[in-house]
């Protein structure tokens, strides 16, 4: 799951190394429009629809948070 997430993140913002960051939002790697793109990519990759109420910056601030959001919304590894 981590590998797929990192791949999708690198497609959205190829200029950043997400594996080196602990907070994508605070460190300026992702903005709200990037999150919209990431949600769309994750929905497609895992054949789910992440609940609109879960589309909050804190749920996409690092790899662990994204994994938790995916699992909460029915993604399987």
């Amino acid at each position: 799951m981590e590998k797929i997430i990192l791949h999708l993140l690198s497609e959205i913002r190829p200029e950043f190394d997400f594996s080196e960051s602990s907070n994508f939002i605070a460190e300026g790697l992702l903005d709200s429009f990037d999150i919209v793109q990431l949600v769309t990519a994750l929905d497609e990759a895992y054949n789910i629809s992440i609940d609109g109420l879960d589309i909050l910056p804190e749920n996409f601030s690092n790899l662990e948070a994204i994994k938790a959001t995916l699992i909460k919304n029915g993604a399987t590894t």
């Binding site: 959205i12 903005d31 709200s32 429009f33 990037d34 919209v36 793109q37 949600v39 769309t40 629809s49 609940d51 609109g52 109420l53 589309i55 909050l56 910056p57």
Partner: protein
């Protein structure tokens, strides 16, 4: 608040859009973001073409053009209009009411009611509710509901939050009594604590426009806008819509004793493709039943977006068929409102260009 009406119908819907079209691809360089970022966003959000006014065209210009079209086509007669309601956030003037300007230009009779309502993205449902309430009076038989907004001049061309979606337009909806009409259910909600989520901060009496309020400044996300421009807190609006709209629809259908599958179409306000798909997923309806193709073709024209969705997607079908429609508008205020009613055998249902 839940509302229920009987013996009312919509007998015609006309959408009037400016002929002038601008394309997202042509405006990409205005934004302070990489081209590849903007192009990816285009696909997700549905940015493409939009219609905006040029040459100082106002809300009344679009409405008068559409009304004259209906008069010329013998689809509406001046003497039968008992009420003229205009829902707009972009009046021609602070005073007089723009509905009165339209009344004068159309040379309508004096013995009638004429009013402006300041409402945005939920303005179509709010306007319909007002029309239904007025039709409770036995002296009133026909209401002309005008929705019009020309907000594009109030949006910064360098604001990627708002500029790619904004569209201008007007709609004319004829609402009248119908002894055989089925029940209409509606829900209206408001949260004024969110009034700054969608706002034009300067230009009113609180903060009059000055050279300072006209000065564009860069925000944290890299957008440039002035206090004279429309400001949208996109994240707050998105979260508000996802939090409040699905339970409102669920409650509305419960009141109407309907299942979500009973509804033929969910004709919702058109903020962007992403938000509408998330709403459809949350409510549990297929995307085909909730069209999301207005932002990509015409832009989001606030209270005009629902009638535009109906005329563009159903058009002639509504001249001969009957559909059970759920409408929902949500946005500035904050205000959110929904309605479920039958639309059948309309006298007209079309989209025309303002030239």
């Amino acid at each position: 608040m839940n509302l229920k009406f009987r013996n009312k119908k919509i007998s015609g819907i006309l959408t009037v859009l400016p002929e002038n079209e601008v394309k997202f691809d042509d405006e990409i360089d205005n934004y302070n973001f990489s081209k590849s970022q903007s192009m990816k966003l285009k696909l997700v959000m549905g940015y493409d073409k939009r219609r905006i006014v040029i040459g100082g065209t106002t809300a009344s210009d679009l409405c008068v053009y559409g009304m004259n079209y209906l008069f010329d086509q013998n689809l509406l007669h001046k003497d039968e209009i008992d009420v003229l309601i205009l829902v707009t956030q972009s009046p021609d003037y602070f005073m007089p009411p723009t509905s009165h300007v339209i009344h004068g230009q159309l040379d309508l009779k004096q013995d009638m009611i004429c009013m402006d309502i300041n409402q945005g993205c939920s303005g179509y449902v709010v306007g319909l509710n007002q029309a239904f309430m007025l039709l409770e009076h036995e002296e009133i038989n026909k209401v002309v509901l005008l929705n019009a907004d020309v907000l594009s001049p109030k949006v910064s061309k360098r604001d990627r939050n708002s500029n790619p979606i904004i569209g201008d337009g007007a709609s004319i909806t004829i609402v009248e009594n119908d002894a055989s009409g089925k029940a209409i259910f509606s829900a209206v909600k408001v949260d004024g604590k969110g009034s700054e989520a969608l706002i034009i901060p300067a230009g009113g009496f609180r903060t009059p426009s000055t050279s300072e309020t006209a000065e564009p400044r860069e925000d944290d996300a890299g957008n440039f806008r002035a206090l004279d421009h429309l400001k949208m807190k996109g994240d707050d609006v998105f979260n508000f819509v996802q939090r409040e709209v699905p339970p409102m629809i669920e409650g509305l259908l419960l009141k109407a004793d309907l299942d979500k599958e009973d509804i033929d179409y969910y004709m919702f306000h058109q903020p962007n493709r992403f938000m509408l798909r998330k709403l459809a997923d949350k409510i549990g309806v297929p995307y085909e039943k909730m069209p999301n193709n207005i932002v990509e073709n015409f832009g989001n024209s606030s209270g005009v977006s629902i009638p535009t969705t109906i005329t563009y997607n159903l058009g002639d079908k509504l001249l001969k068929d009957s559909f059970l429609i759920c409408m929902a508008g949500f946005g500035t205020g904050l205000n959110w409102a929904s309605l479920v009613m039958n639309l059948e055998k309309l006298q007209f249902c079309e989209l025309i260009n303002y030239k």
